[in-house]
């Protein structure tokens, strides 16, 4: 940066351009910490050019912002994502408990014969639980839409991030799909129109959002039924 700029101006310029290093940030912080007038100036600059960016960037219009707010409000309405996830896990647990295998094999005269292998299995399970592993896979059924084109969210994880729109019990929930591989070829043109799919993977919440780390996808030719929801 030019020699005729003060150190403060040079640092603020780097900040505006988004290439302020950690060391420069520390330097700028030290400067403004002891100089209230510089701190005010920095805040004014940030606010002023943020306003200007809103004026200039087409994806940051008031209406786009409002659309994104509405989408998130809809997604968080009724029971929130966390509660949805909790309910889903509860259903999965119930399904596991009442599944066809049952526990009858533990009863009866041969129960003792199971004890040794069972103990070994328990030890293996404890070790397995201690290891880093993938979240239990869940399959969700809904329609894939685009975070940018359909939901008008300016800051999805990446441009045109696919989002699974799940309609259940009269409410709508959004689940953001993540994957190392591009999902577009598997889903199809979800930017153009909603695509009914089943998505399987590890489900979690982050910043109030439901996120599915996709392991497998199945595309449906016909639209999903009226009350699809989760399939544990």
């Amino acid at each position: 940066m030019s020699a005729d700029l003060s150190p403060y101006d040079a640092l603020v310029a780097a900040l505006h351009e988004g290439d302020l290093t950690a060391a420069q940030a520390d330097e700028l912080a030290a400067l403004v910490r002891t100089r209230p007038e510089l701190r005010r100036d920095l805040r004014r600059q940030l606010a002023l050019w943020e306003l200007w960016a809103q004026e200039q960037a087409p994806e940051r219009t008031a209406e786009s912002f409002l659309a994104a707010c509405r989408t998130r409000l809809r997604a968080e309405s009724d029971d929130g994502s966390a509660r949805f996830l909790e309910a889903l896990h509860r259903r999965q647990a119930d399904a596991a408990r009442t599944g066809p295998t049952g526990r009858r094999w533990l009863r009866g005269p041969l129960a003792f014969a199971w004890a040794a292998p069972l103990a070994a299995a328990l030890v293996a399970l404890i070790v397995w639980l201690g290891l880093p592993r993938a979240v239990q896979a869940t399959t969700l059924h809904g329609e894939a839409v685009c975070a940018a084109c359909t939901l008008h969210e300016p800051h999805a994880a990446h441009e045109h991030q696919p989002v699974l729109r799940i309609r259940e019990g009269g409410t709508e929930r959004l689940c953001y799909l993540e994957s190392e591989r591009p999902l577009y070829p598997e889903i199809g043109d979800y930017c153009e129109r909603p695509v009914p799919i089943d998505a399987t993977g590890g489900l979690r919440t982050e910043k109030g959002r439901l996120i599915l780390a996709v392991q497998a996808l199945t595309r449906h030719e016909r639209p999903p039924s009226s009350d699809p929801g989760a399939r544990p």
Binding site: M1, D9, L42, Q54, R60, A62, F65, L73
Partner: protein, 213 residues
């Protein structure tokens, strides 16, 4: 609000011919005197967002949010406000209430792992956060004056500088991209932007006073 032009981009009304020069104390007083009728907007989500989004986003940026995450945090503020609308004290300043929520969210953000944060570098975010929520920030009604002043000030710039600013913020092009497009060196682009920003800021403050605390 007197007759003006609603910006298709931000929803801000600009172009009031009689509002070029408003002293800072007047702006501050208006912010303090926010009318109780603003309470109504709490029960109309769209109205709440429309009225406060521009100023709130600017405020969040000034608290130290990364520019790419400003909208994300601002959306969370409105969701929190909507959930807690019953806790808002009737007759209070909605703008100040929203800014308080924003500050709390940013403080929570600051506690996160540095790799996952949506804020500027930690040291800088700490300094920017180390201020109380001011009641004197420009109200939603005064922001149009700031934007109008900015438009006027930018209009006075040479065409090349205007183009530079437009492309920098409309297309989010960085200095290197702009340098290639405008046949300038990257360093020249940076220095021009520094000069232009300083000129515009000074011009805006000359028109509307020091609008930000």
């Amino acid at each position: 609000m007197a007759a003006g032009v609603v910006s298709a981009r931000t929803g801000i009304v600009t172009g009031r011919p009689d509002t070029t020069i408003i002293p800072a104390p007047v702006i501050a007083r208006r912010a303090r005197d926010a009318t109780p009728s603003m309470d109504d907007s709490l029960h109309d989500f769209d109205a709440l967002v429309r009225e406060h989004q521009a100023g709130l986003r600017a405020w969040i940026r000034a608290l130290g949010a990364q520019d790419a995450w400003v909208d994300d945090i601002a959306q969370e503020v409105f969701l929190v406000a909507h959930r807690r609308r019953e806790t808002f004290v009737a007759g209070g300043n909605v703008g100040a209430w929203l800014r308080g929520i924003a500050r709390n969210l940013v403080i929570n953000e600051r506690r996160k792992d540095a790799r996952r944060t949506r804020l500027l570098h930690a040291s800088l975010a700490d300094v920017l956060l180390d201020e109380p929520v001011p009641d004197l920030a420009p109200s939603a009604h005064d922001l149009p004056l700031v934007v109008a002043a900015m438009n006027e000030c930018v209009a006075q710039l040479p065409a090349r500088s205007r183009e530079l600013l437009r492309r920098r913020y409309a297309g989010d092009e960085n200095a290197s991209t702009l340098a290639r497009a405008l046949d300038m060196s990257s360093e020249a682009v940076r220095q021009t932007l520094v000069r232009v920003r300083a000129v515009v800021k000074s011009c805006v403050e000359g028109k509307v006073g020091e609008v930000w605390p």
